[in-house]
């Protein structure tokens, strides 16, 4: 597992930040970043059902990086009111986001389906869990912007 955890910091707003480096096609620890985020939320005392939503969104984002990208980074910022997750990858990008958001549409190879993924539910699941969901993707390099996909997920503690 290739992960880096930024030091936990607690400022006056009790903000905690994490960052995980995710290696594409490395399933040996796939999901562990999301599980560690989940444990942090449990430690802080977020409601259990909310933690599950956040963990699902993070897990689907993490798995998308592993399945589709060469590598990526997943960052999370936790405050008492909000959890924000950024999942940014160096991958091929998504040619048709609208199609990718349809349940059941998947470009995953067969060996991924044998693991129980690749059902085309990842992005729809993330959107369903998030209060705010934003996705930006490029299938070719434009200026300083490399190809790849960036997802931002915001979930409120309410």
């Amino acid at each position: 597992m290739n992960k880096k955890k930024i030091e936990k910091t607690a400022d006056t707003k009790h903000k905690i930040a994490f960052a995980f480096t995710i290696e594409g096609n490395n399933f040996s620890s796939a999901g562990e970043a999301s599980i560690r985020l989940k444990h942090a939320l449990q430690h802080i005392g977020y409601p259990a059902l909310l933690i599950r939503r956040i963990a699902v969104a993070a897990y689907e984002a993490e798995m998308n990086i592993i399945i589709h990208a060469h590598r990526g980074v997943m960052k999370a910022e936790i405050t008492p009111e909000t959890v924000t997750i950024w999942a940014e990858d160096e991958g091929p990008g998504i040619p048709n986001v609208e199609l990718a958001m349809q349940e059941g549409y998947s470009t995953a190879p067969d060996y991924i389906r044998e693991m129980g993924f690749g059902a085309g539910m990842g992005l729809p699941n993330i959107k369903r869990c998030a209060d705010i969901f934003d996705i930006k993707t490029h299938i070719e390099k434009r200026g300083n912007i490399e190809k790849g996909t960036k997802i931002k997920i915001v979930i409120y503690n309410k």
């Binding site: 399933f27 796939a30 999901g31 562990e32 999301s34 599980i35 989940k38 409601p47 259990a48 059902l49 599950r52 939503r53 963990a55 699902v56 897990y59 689907e60 044998e114 693991m115 129980g116 993924f117 059902a119 085309g120 539910m121 990842g122 729809p124 699941n125 369903r128 869990c129």
Partner: protein, 132 residues
């Protein structure tokens, strides 16, 4: 105790072991944990999409997917225990990860269909609610 009666409060893992003639692979110390809802299937994203239940619900996963990702998905979803169907010979990675995570694993020789039918007939009828 009549297992055939409808049970709104679920049943213990030990009862499920009897019903499915299951073998306990790991988690022998957790056989008294309650089970209230069941998810049966091999699509992990399907489980992720469905399992947003009341925090007091204890969900059992029935699956034929012999893969470590099942264990991680189960941990994300707070799955109480996993029953592998069709007499799966579990991979070492699966067993190792389950022990590490403290997830009880059972194996039954029954099919997924039969296992579901037996548990449903015994009164375990609650499904995980949809999130939205």
């Amino acid at each position: 105790m009549c297992l055939a009666e409808a049970r709104n409060d679920g049943m213990c893992l030990s009862e499920i072991i009897i019903l499915l003639s299951a073998e306990v692979i790991c988690g022998q110390d957790k056989l008294n944990i309650p089970v209230e809802a069941v998810y049966a299937g091999d699509l992990m994203s399907d489980l992720l999409a469905q399992c947003h239940t009341n925090t007091h619900n204890k969900t059992l996963l029935l699956t034929g997917l012999n893969n470590p990702q099942v264990i991680r998905t189960a941990e994300i979803m707070d799955v109480t225990a996993i029953v592998f169907v069709r007499g799966k010979q579990l991979h070492d990675e699966v067993l190792q990860l389950a022990k590490e995570k403290g997830v009880p694993l059972l194996v039954t020789k029954l099919s997924l269909y039969d296992s579901c039918g037996i548990l449903y007939s015994a009164g375990l009828r609650k499904q995980p609610d949809r999130l939205r």
